[in-house]
């Protein structure tokens, strides 16, 4: 019973494809791909619309106000109103802009964001695009975002766009490294780059109680936090939204965009956020696995979206709490702390593996991380001598 509910979407797709029996193989394949693409877009564009309004509402509640509550019940139709507004707005292209690049940047950024969604397993047997190097594909395609951002900044021929794009490049390159390196211990421990096998490796429960997710190992927990912070930076979210810091450089690389192109950037940002959260779940939070054995009755895709929802809530929560960081603080943090810690996670995972993956491995890898963390924080602290802050002309 629960199995059939779990596989309802898979069966539905097979039933749709069975109407094509007798056609040549490539027709079936193309139809299968088209169904996958359609479902991905349908689900995630709906989720985007929903999250864009929920984010505003949750953020508002954290700041003691109501968010949008006028359009439809509880303001839930706000995205429709926003969409109509964005569609009927004038699309301004600056006279001196590079027209082709200016047009291509939003297209590319959206395409890249949607492509990265393809390799994430959404449930049992529910990976839209199954390839061996799924993780590799994710990072390879995801890093094209930088190109799109720079296209937007360069093509707009505007100083704010250019500055924003430069900041974006700097921060995205710096945080791409910890992002990839924190994914490395998982790949090492599982021995595979396939998201499906990574999720499968996290099945089961220790002592029938704690799920065998990688986040419950010391290296996994550290790597998850590092991955999450890098994900925040990669999706340009507060407190790392330096590239589009509106108090400093208008809207960064999106300054010269209006109407639907701006909405496309916005959408790409959210979809990128979903993709990074989805990958974080696949790598560390057990993907679509239920957190307890009795809860396995609930279908796998429901668990995926519950976890995704909670991660997105944390994103919104962090946005509602922390102020924007300064760019130099951010870069220092990336190169001096995040990167060494990411490498430490790799070592800790190796220690965990060779110490027998049990309690002993747990303790040893915890020790490695604790030592490096303490050493790193002490070193970083003594390295900074701050000059006295003097206001010379103050009364």
């Amino acid at each position: 019973m629960s199995n059939s509910i779990d596989q309802v979407f898979v069966h539905a797709k097979q039933w749709l494809l069975s109407s094509l029996t007798g056609s040549p193989g490539w027709v079936v394949q193309v139809a299968s791909i088209l169904i996958n693409i359609f479902m991905l877009l349908a689900v995630f564009l709906t989720l985007f619309a929903l999250i864009s309004v929920l984010e505003r509402k949750i953020l508002a509640r954290m700041q003691n106000r109501y968010g949008p509550n006028r359009v439809g019940p509880f303001g839930l139709f706000q995205p429709i109103a926003d969409g109509i507004k964005m569609l009927i707005k004038e699309d301004i292209v600056p006279a001196r802009a590079d027209k082709i690049v200016h047009f291509l940047a939003p297209v590319l950024i959206a395409a890249v964001a949607i492509l990265t969604l393809g390799v994430i397993p959404y449930g049992r047997n529910m990976t839209p695009f199954t390839i061996d190097g799924g993780i590799l594909f994710f990072f390879a395609v995801g890093s094209a975002t930088e190109l799109a951002v720079f296209m937007a900044g360069w093509g707009s021929n505007n100083k704010f766009s250019m500055l924003g794009a430069m900041r974006a490049i700097a921060q995205m390159f710096s945080y791409e490294l910890p992002l990839i390196i924190t994914a490395l211990p998982v790949v090492m421990v599982v021995g595979s780059l396939t998201p499906d096998r990574i999720v499968a490796a996290q099945a089961g429960y220790t002592f029938d109680l704690v799920p065998r997710w990688f986040v419950f190992t010391p290296w996994g927990a550290a790597a998850f936090v590092l991955f999450f912070v890098s994900g925040l930076v990669e999706s340009n979210r507060t407190p790392f939204d330096v590239p589009e810091g509106e108090s400093e450089i208008v809207a960064g690389h999106m300054t010269e965009y209006s109407g639907f192109k701006y909405a496309t950037f916005f959408m790409a940002e959210y979809i990128g956020m979903f993709a990074v959260s989805g990958l974080a779940m696949t790598l560390f939070l057990g993907g679509w696995h239920a957190p307890a054995r009795i809860l396995e009755i609930i279908p796998s895709y429901v668990w995926f979206f519950v976890k995704l929802g909670s991660l997105l809530f944390v994103y919104i929560w962090v946005r509602g709490t922390l102020p924007r960081t300064r760019i130099d603080q951010m870069m220092n943090f990336a190169w001096k702390f995040m990167l060494p810690m990411a490498f430490t996670c790799v070592i800790a995972a190796a220690v965990w593996h060779y110490a027998g993956r049990g309690l002993r491995g747990w303790l040893w890898s915890f020790l490695v991380i604790a030592i490096v963390y303490t050493a790193l924080s002490t070193l970083l602290d003594t390295g900074r001598k701050l000059a006295p802050r003097v206001y010379r002309f103050a009364e």
Binding site: I58, R61, M62, Q63, N64, R65, Y66, W317, V318, G320, T321, L322, S377, D381, L386, P388, R389, V390, Y391, R392, F393, A394, E395
Partner: protein, 176 residues
């Protein structure tokens, strides 16, 4: 005179910034929870809830003309308000009351009395200057229109807002 701002000495706990971040997250979550439980009083939802009932008596809203108990417009078209009005929002065309009329003694009445509500600054000088207590600032504040012409209050509109004023002398009361 230079001022040196002391840099606070942070202990290792403060230097990790983690307790501060966690405390911040806890504060926002507390606000979120209190909002969901309806413990936070936020704001008045304006078009549905209005503050009309709690407006004070001396509130200065839209200016309006009043009639007396006999149904006569109190205004005698002396044009003092027109002269005093700082943004020159008021325009009066005086007319003569025919000698056969019951109120012939009053001599003049406003044939047209326009207040341009785009110009009006709600200062209340017209009310202050009026020797006949014919113009008052009422409690209407949501004055809207689609065109500039809509925003001009003609005599009928002014009388509609103003209504009938009873009693003879209100001018020297405490509040008005």
């Amino acid at each position: 005179m230079a001022i040196t701002v002391p840099r606070p000495k942070l202990n290792w706990r403060e230097r990790s910034y983690l307790p501060a971040i966690v405390a911040g997250l806890a504060i926002t979550f507390k606000h979120f929870k209190n909002m969901l439980l309806g413990r936070t009083k936020v704001t008045m939802q304006y078009p549905e809830q209005k503050w009309d009932s709690s407006l004070p008596d001396h509130y200065r809203g839209a200016p309006a003309l009043v009639q007396d108990e006999d149904g006569r417009v109190r205004c005698v078209a002396c044009q003092l308000c027109e002269f005093i009005c700082p943004p020159r929002a008021i325009k009066i065309i005086p007319g003569e009351i025919p000698s056969a009329d019951r109120f012939a003694k009053v001599e003049k009445y406003p044939e047209a009395f326009d207040i341009d509500m785009i110009r009006c600054i709600f200062c209340g000088m017209c009310e202050e200057v009026c020797p006949e207590q014919a113009i008052f600032l009422r409690k209407d504040y949501a004055i809207t229109g689609f065109t500039r012409a809509d925003m001009v209050h003609h005599k009928e509109k002014l009388l509609e807002i103003g209504g009938v004023m009873h009693g003879v002398v209100l001018k020297w009361n405490e509040k008005k």
